[in-house]
Symmetry: C2
Subunit: 518 residues, 2 copies
């Protein structure tokens, strides 16, 4: 009963159609030239909006009714509230009360708190999710329970899809820490402050109807107005848009694992030896424990050398803010804010700059910042011997993570994946990844606790590490070492049913996820 | 040989077509409902742009060639450099050297410095201008010398026209006080700093090709990035984008004319008596001598009452900045910056906020700020007995001014035109205005040195002034007083030839300007 499958340019079998719509198979990095024009939203007129600017309605349900919520629509939310988000759950509570069915939920990412929505996937209120799925929702999808095929996109791919009209958002619901009744909004003030609201920018610009929801309504003008009220149809005040302590959890801590610390230190040394850390360089680390440690080692090297970074890409946190305030980093270009120090800094420091997937990640643009970053530190669940990597499924076949900005960041000048050689006695480096999310040609270096593998394409890096004492090996050597310790890993068993498609940054389909045999 | 003329909803005869393109006659305020979708620019891909973000080319001419400059194209520039602009003149020097003809120049406004371009209008490099015309270019147009019909739009109308695809910009050339080689740009740093670059926003977003020109190229990232490099195709460094002392001339001074001072004081008293000046109110004055004085009188009243304004709309200048810094005004929402104090403030003070015609003035939106301002002080060259007003032609028939934000500001809650009863012994109030730019139903109060006329539609204001001692008269009384002193004014004599169309904020044609009989 399946659509015809096609082998794409990286050897994966992908369908011609997803949810009945024609798709383009991955054609290779930098090979697909898009045609056509950006999506042009319907022309609106101020005649239809209140002259005094007050668009506030009594409840989210009322706003959704006025926005024309109906069966089969695509409803978007953003993920800046992370595990503390209440907005998405409220939206689908309303939809359920109204008896609306078959909705596509189009979040910029989902979290465990959205397991609440499983009941609406079960009862058909939500037909499927297009967006990064984390944890329970991904597991649900892997088990073949979602009514339609999920579509996973990177942050930049999500912007691209909206901009190009691949996904038409009927109603965007934008939760904000602060807003005015006109719809101007930001994430830097109020009890539910989350920092930047950049992930909602595409939704505001291109959705048919836009609703801003806040628990902190201020008189016009709400400044800064990261979201412009001029895009907004209705505003709503609710008791709580989120659970503050889960929005900016501040729980991320530097790793204490000796293996992880070794990986972090080796990564920093590698960047030092190869000259990647130089005056005016730029980096993107991340917020995981290993990544935080790498940032701290970077700081030590910079202090010793008396140099500074021109900019660091956030996700920001207290450690990055410290570097900014110490003068080690001139600018933080920030996509999302992970703790209260990050929120304070992005609110008060003009050198801590809000970005969005438009500025940072959109591949159907005239360039973006991702390709200008000297070194990018990323994770992976699996890497194959051609440096292709997986970031969405585990080796047991379960879809448990979203793509985030991962694919977009692969365009950085040097991409390093610091990973343990094995996790729970399952090797990370394998002949073939379960799901191929990133082409190996964009992945430069794998750093493990037992050695470094440099992509043969990066002869420059191989040359620079010669005589450095760094434990450079081939990726085959690393794989064999892991297999010697753990044995050759079992592959998960899948049915033929495609449960999720993985889009590449240009909207083509790079791989699919299949239902697990249970 | 003319296209058929139609009487529009306000009684003016307008053509069916302008420059061969069908137009919609003015249908009344709030009567025209637009159809269709926003212009969607062509989808671009990062494949075609340098991965290191460096889009700098050797010269403006090279950038124009790469952008495909060709006969008949529409080329846009902004007016933030005012009388100090060198960019527009350089662009058409290049076009002339390249032998390109028949260009439409689409500036956000023109100034006397652009009289330089008359030679290119003469030799056919430029076929016509769509944009506010000030001084020599307007005179040239009035004399019937322009090859095609000029089109004048308000700042908001210009945004609307670009957004809706009424005008497709082939190449936007954006001069900036500061930029990086990727194209991020602002107007707050460098020798040619002009404050905001908001008038270039639509151009950046919707033009086919975008060129950023600066004399102050900084390393990526140029912060703030009011113009996002993601919209930009090429960047160019030139010696000078403008003449600094003419960009922020700082020459605007408070009026010393006793009549003008009386008008200013009466205006402030009127706003006090009617309760328009209240705690948390908002106002837009302007930068002329009378307007500045009104602002100062407002300040006195606010100090005396112990109240403050929630926001003031700029054009900003030292006087408005003083009010912000004194705490009389909480926010300046600023469209353009008129002096160095304004530039300093918008650069350093987060409560001095950059706006654009998108946020402030676009009528094909979901509301804008213009309608939320409590009181707006505007000028006019002529006003008729139905409160219709003219702002582009003088009573001698010459087109000498642009529309600026004037039409857009008419949507303010109370619109006051403080004008002298006559200028050079020519009455300002007349039976019929030479050119009808703003419908009387949106104009509330005329304040002259010899009395105040309140629009009969504003019964509330008439009631509030009763017993106030303010010299309230009918507009007919004011007209008669002027005619008693000056006599009944002569009307200019026009040919049938339409030399310019005046668009309303919704893109419809409210009036035309005809060639002067000479």
């Amino acid at each position: 009963m399946h659509d015809k499958l096609i082998r794409n340019a990286i050897g994966r079998m992908v369908p011609e159609k997803i949810n009945g719509k024609q798709v383009v198979p991955f054609a290779g990095v930098g090979k697909y030239h898009p045609k056509g024009n950006h999506h042009g939203p319907r022309i609106t007129t101020n005649i239809d909006f209140p002259a005094d600017g007050n668009k506030q309605v009594g409840s989210l349900k009322e706003a959704l009714i006025k926005a024309g919520l109906n069966n089969g629509m695509t409803i978007s939310t953003h993920h800046h509230f992370r595990e503390g988000d209440r907005v998405a759950n409220m939206v689908f509570d309303c939809a359920s009360e109204l008896g609306v069915k078959d909705l596509c939920w189009f979040p910029s990412a989902s979290f465990s708190c959205h397991a609440y929505l499983l009941k609406y996937l079960d009862d058909g209120t939500i037909s499927h999710i297009e967006g990064s799925m984390n944890g329970p929702l991904g597991r649900y999808c892997s088990e073949g329970k979602m009514r339609k095929t999920a579509v996973l996109r990177s942050h930049g791919g999500r912007y691209q899809a909206i901009q190009d009209g691949d996904v038409k958002i009927d109603i965007a619901v934008i939760g904000a820490g602060c807003a005015d009744s006109f719809g101007n909004a930001n994430g830097v003030h109020g009890p539910s402050a989350s920092g930047s609201l950049g992930f909602a920018l595409a939704d505001a610009r291109y959705a048919d109807k836009v609703i801003v929801v806040t628990d902190n309504m201020v008189p016009f003008p709400c400044i800064p107005w990261q979201i412009h009220g001029n895009y907004v149809d209705y505003t709503v005040k609710v008791d709580k848009v989120g659970i503050p302590e889960k929005i900016v959890s501040g729980t991320t801590a530097i790793t204490r694992s000796p293996d992880r610390l070794l990986i972090a230190e080796t990564t920093a040394r590698f960047c030092d030896v190869t000259g990647i850390i130089h005056d005016g360089f730029s980096f993107q680390a991340g917020a995981g424990g290993t990544a935080l440690s790498i940032g701290i080692f970077f700081g030590d090297i910079m202090r010793k050398k008396g140099i500074k970074a021109r900019f660091a890409r956030g996700g920001s946190n207290q450690y990055l803010v410290n570097m900014l305030e110490e003068g080690l980093v001139e600018y933080i270009l920030d996509g999302q804010t992970f703790d209260l120090e990050g929120v304070r800094s992005i609110r008060d420091n003009p050198c801590h700059v809000m970005t969005s997937p438009f500025t940072s990640y959109n591949y159907h643009s005239k360039g973006n910042f991702a390709s200008m970053v000297d070194v990018v530190i990323l994770g992976a669940t699996e890497i194959d011997i051609n440096f292709n990597a997986n970031v969405v499924t585990h080796s047991d076949g379960y879809l448990l993570h979203g793509l985030g900005g991962w694919q977009n960041c692969l365009f950085g000048k040097t991409v390093i994946l610091p990973v343990p050689l094995f996790r729970d006695r399952i090797p990370v480096i394998r002949d073939e990844v379960t799901t191929l999310c990133g082409p190996g040609e964009l992945i430069d270096v794998i750093i493990t606790e037992r050695g470094i593998a440099i992509n043969p394409l990066r002869k420059d890096l191989i040359d620079k590490t010669k005589g450095s004492g760094l434990p450079v090996k081939t990726i085959h050597q690393l794989k064999e070492e892991a297999e010697t310790i753990c044995g050759i890993p079992q592959k998960p068993v899948f049915t033929d049913k495609i449960v999720a498609a993985i889009k590449w940054v240009d909207g083509t389909v790079i791989d699919v996820v299949r239902q697990l045999e249970t």
